[in-house]
């Protein structure tokens, strides 16, 4: 007898992405470039985060035609984004057979109170987090993979660094805590006691955690690996650079060999301008995507 949609199958799929780069793409042509560069998966969407930020308006699940074209163009896994709490968008993506759904703060939330109950789906989900409490709540709802949020579409690594350091620092604290301290930590962090017990036992999060939101250069990607990310998502950073193919290849290689600094120097040479990027103080509180969801 075989069983589909188990935790092991859903979390295992993310384990196979480790050490890899997942790239945002908006059409089949970009998906092929990503695959040829060595991406471990692509994220199909209608607009990359920097365009969503620039153009404004409500950002929704991509036109299924785009997602379908991407799925037909590549043999690597295809992920797609659904709005936070949008049960129907998520079910549509599942019915289309996408390999992973990102319940994403990059899109305009459909529900400001409740996230999806991801345990109910056969397709696995990845969700954003800024701290161990958010991580615990998303995993509690059934997320099979995490990514630290960063600040999408900025090309500025500062928030991605902040969130990854926060999550991993909290994991280290939990691991060092006495058993009798865990319940109080659970109250303070907004994480379940059972979850914290599991983190302490494993010495790490129970699911893969990638970094996202602001990675624009090979050195940025390598930095996130250095800080303990299992892999990286690159959104606007590739197809908003001057030379997407070279950027994509260089970021893939820098992620795999993140402590080979001579190689990263070589990869970064003459790459041309990265995406221009935004300084955080120029982004108003209402425009910070990381503040969406809790």
């Amino acid at each position: 007898m075989s069983e589909k949609g188990t935790d092991r199958v859903k979390r295992g799929m993310a384990e196979m992405q480790k050490g890899g780069v997942i790239m945002d793409v908006v059409n089949a042509e970009q998906a092929k470039i990503a695959e040829a560069a060595g991406a471990t998966a692509v994220m199909a969407l209608e607009r990359v985060p920097s365009d969503i930020r620039k153009e404004g308006g409500v950002a929704r699940m991509a036109d299924p035609r785009i997602t379908e074209e991407v799925m037909n163009a590549v043999s690597i896994p295809v992920m797609a984004k659904a709005r936070i709490g949008h049960i129907t968008e998520a079910r549509v993506l599942e019915a289309m057979g996408v390999d992973y759904i990102d319940e994403s703060e990059v899109l305009t939330p459909a529900d400001e109170e409740f996230h999806l109950l991801k345990n109910d789906y056969t397709v696995p989900f990845v969700c954003g987090c800024r701290n161990i409490g958010e991580a615990a709540r998303r995993i509690g709802e059934g997320a099979s993979m995490l990514r630290t949020k960063g600040e999408p579409g900025t090309g500025n690594i500062v928030e991605a660094v902040r969130h990854l350091r926060q999550v991993n620092g909290e994991v280290r604290k939990i691991v060092a805590m006495g058993e009798d301290e865990l319940m109080t930590a659970a109250r303070d962090l907004g994480a379940s006691y059972e979850f914290l017990k599991e983190v302490k036992l494993l010495g790490r999060l129970p699911v893969v955690n990638f970094a996202a939101g602001g990675i624009a250069t090979p050195a940025d990607a390598a930095l996130m690996m250095e800080l303990g990310a299992d892999g990286v998502f690159v959104g606007s950073g590739i197809f908003k650079s001057d030379q997407p193919e070279r950027f994509a290849r260089a970021i893939v290689e820098a992620t795999a060999h993140y402590q080979d600094y001579e190689l990263i120097a070589k990869l970064s040479k003459d790459l041309g301008p990265a995406m221009k990027g935004l300084e955080m103080s120029t982004i108003g509180a209402a425009d910070r995507m990381q503040e969406r969801s809790w």
Partner: protein, 201 residues
């Protein structure tokens, strides 16, 4: 005994734990120079196309083939099986091309079709818990290939000379019996049948 895990991408940590649980030393391999000190090599699960790009850019393809040619045992799981195969259905070129099998990629379907099942494996007494994730399978096995397990009429585990390959991910369960089988192959490598095909590549 030193066993490497090719660590360009994929489920490296899990294989390292399995090797250590079997009492061998595990080496995380990113460069060709590291191959010289190894008694065997594991090609982990991950994305085979991404691994191939990284193999090419790290100039590892010929060193890996030479490692195989020298009769060093190699164990490929899922993407690792695809890397070992002599032929890949629907693709012009293989990767290492050292094991006399033809594989079909993603042949059980997309992620929503990924599954767990208990397998009856030749030479292993109790059923083996297997996790299949967008898994490939062996559509054709050469004469010298020993089929160790079929599931739903498809070959999912096989052995040929120094090569062991499976469709599923033994590294995702705590069950180390397949890794033990591989470690035994490495330990008794002089007893492994030599096959002619990999010297032809």
């Amino acid at each position: 005994m030193k066993i490497g895990v090719l660590a360009l991408q994929g489920a490296v940590r899990e294989h390292v734990s399995a090797i250590q649980a079997g009492g061998a030393e595990a080496v995380v391999v990113k460069k060709a120079v590291q191959l010289a000190e190894l008694d065997g090599l594991v090609l982990p699960g991950g994305e085979s196309t991404a691994m191939r790009r990284l193999i090419d850019r790290a100039e590892l393809l010929e060193p890996l083939r030479a490692f195989a040619d020298a009769g060093n045992p190699m164990f490929g799981t899922c993407a690792g099986l695809v890397l070992l195969a002599k032929e890949i259905e629907g693709q012009e070129a293989a990767h290492l091309g050292v094991m006399d099998i033809t594989v079909a990629r993603n042949s059980f379907g997309r992620q929503v079709d990924s599954f767990e099942a208990n397998l009856d494996i030749q030479g292993i007494d109790e059923p083996f818990p297997a996790v299949f994730i967008r898994a490939p399978h062996i559509v054709h096995a050469g004469e010298d290939v020993e089929v160790l397990c079929e599931y739903g009429g498809r070959i999912v585990l096989a052995k040929s000379g120094p090569f062991l390959g499976c469709s599923f991910h033994p590294e995702l369960t705590g069950d180390h019996r397949l890794m033990q089988l591989f470690l035994n192959m490495v330990e008794n490598r002089e007893l492994l049948p030599t096959t002619a095909h990999y010297s032809k590549i």
